[in-house]
Amino acid sequence: MKRETAGELFVTFCKIGAFTFGGGYAMIPLIRREVVEEKKWLAEEEMFDLIAIAESTPGPLAINAATFVGSRVGGILGAFSATFGVVLPSFFIILLIAGILARVEHISLVQKAFRGIRAGVLVLIASALISLCRQLPRRVFTYLVLAAAFAAACLLQADSIVILVLCALCGILWKRLAEKRAEK
């Protein structure tokens, strides 16, 4: 890979990192425009692959997308440039804001504002929950896992990672059993 490509990947993903608020799916249209239409690094159908992969691998979608595009275009160096680029703007912006907030948070008006903001964030979390719920397949198995995981998290206060691993294993086991039954 040419050195210019690594630079281009860095700059493009810096732009994507600096101009998408909220991250996640909000980033898809911008990534598509830059990566498919402008730079032609990916074909349209590879963009769908990217979303599917980001959904079934752990980690923030933006990081998955940057690493994926970077590595397809320019191997390890490309992946590194793109990922570094997408993280850099938010890193410095947050550092700056954390510093400012530490200085103003004792002001009573700021505290009042945050009291309102917390109620707003509650709504944001609820709406994320509702949209994830809607995407769930309507199956008895899914609801059983949902109920069991909720009971484990809420009542038993089990570790989140343990719950995730056990539920993933349940999914694998369930598919195996379904396949065995289909064979008979």
């Binding site: 990192g17 600096a18 608020f21 909220g22 991250g23 996640g24 799916y25 692959d49 992969i53 079934s56 691998t57 752990p58 980690g59 923030p60 933006a62 990081i63 998955n64 690493t67 994926f68 590595s71 992946a79 990922t83 993280v87 938010s90 912006i93 947050i94 550092l95 009042k112 945050f114 309102g116 903001i117 917390r118 109620a119 707003g120 964030v121 509650l122 944001l124 979390i125 609820a126 994320a128 929950l129 994830l132 769930l136 397949p137 899914t142 896992v145 949902l146 109920a147 069991a148 995981a149 998290a153 809420c154 570790d159 989140s160 995730l164 539920c167 999914g171 694998i172 369930w174 598919k175």
Partner: protein, 177 residues
């Protein structure tokens, strides 16, 4: 030492967040509260700041919590930790990603992971609600203003307005009440 701890804990968060965005909230909450790095209502404030600044939510939250806990090196350690697992995994599969995508075992695991993520976020939502509302005195002034802030936010959310607008409106309501 604390930086190492931050790196390790955020590495785990990065490795077990499926679905992005709010899916990392339950994991992050659990870790941060267990280590007493911050309080529940601070986490909610972090979410508001992370939603109103550019960049991925998980990265913003990690940088913020790292910075609060151990300054710039803490921010670096937490951010590096949360990014590293996805970076390595994607690098590993990007050559043969079609095989990965069609692999039955990945699909099967996702069948179990999706409802689990929903359950974990629901649990996190309950404890965030508990920190927003004062359950000791239901008719307190703080509860009243929180309820009054929830309705416009819910309306804007239903209208699919941008999270930044929702946060801004909630802030103004909080300042007035």
């Amino acid at each position: 030492m604390i930086c190492l701890k931050l790196f390790w804990e955020f590495l785990k968060i990065g490795a077990f967040t499926f679905g992005g965005g709010y899916a990392m909230l339950p994991l992050m909450r659990q870790v941060v509260l267990a280590h007493q790095w911050t309080t529940e209502s601070r986490i909610v404030d972090f979410i508001a700041v992370s939603e109103s600044t550019p960049g991925p939510l998980a990265v913003n939250m990690s940088t913020y919590i790292g910075a609060e806990t151990a300054g710039i090196f803490g921010a670096l350690a937490a951010t590096l930790g949360v990014v590293l697992p996805s970076f390595l995994i994607i690098l590993l599969i990007s050559g043969s990603y079609r095989k990965f995508q069609e692999s039955g075992i990945v699909k099967a695991a996702m069948e179990g992971l999706r409802p689990a993520v929903v359950a974990l976020i629901a649990t996190a939502l309950l404890s965030v609600a508990d920190s927003v509302f004062d359950t000791g005195d239901l008719l307190s002034r703080a509860n009243l203003s929180a309820v009054l802030a929830v309705f416009p936010a819910a309306f804007l959310c239903y209208k699919k307005r941008h999270p930044i607008l929702i946060i801004a409106v909630s802030a103004v309501i909080g300042m007035i009440l």
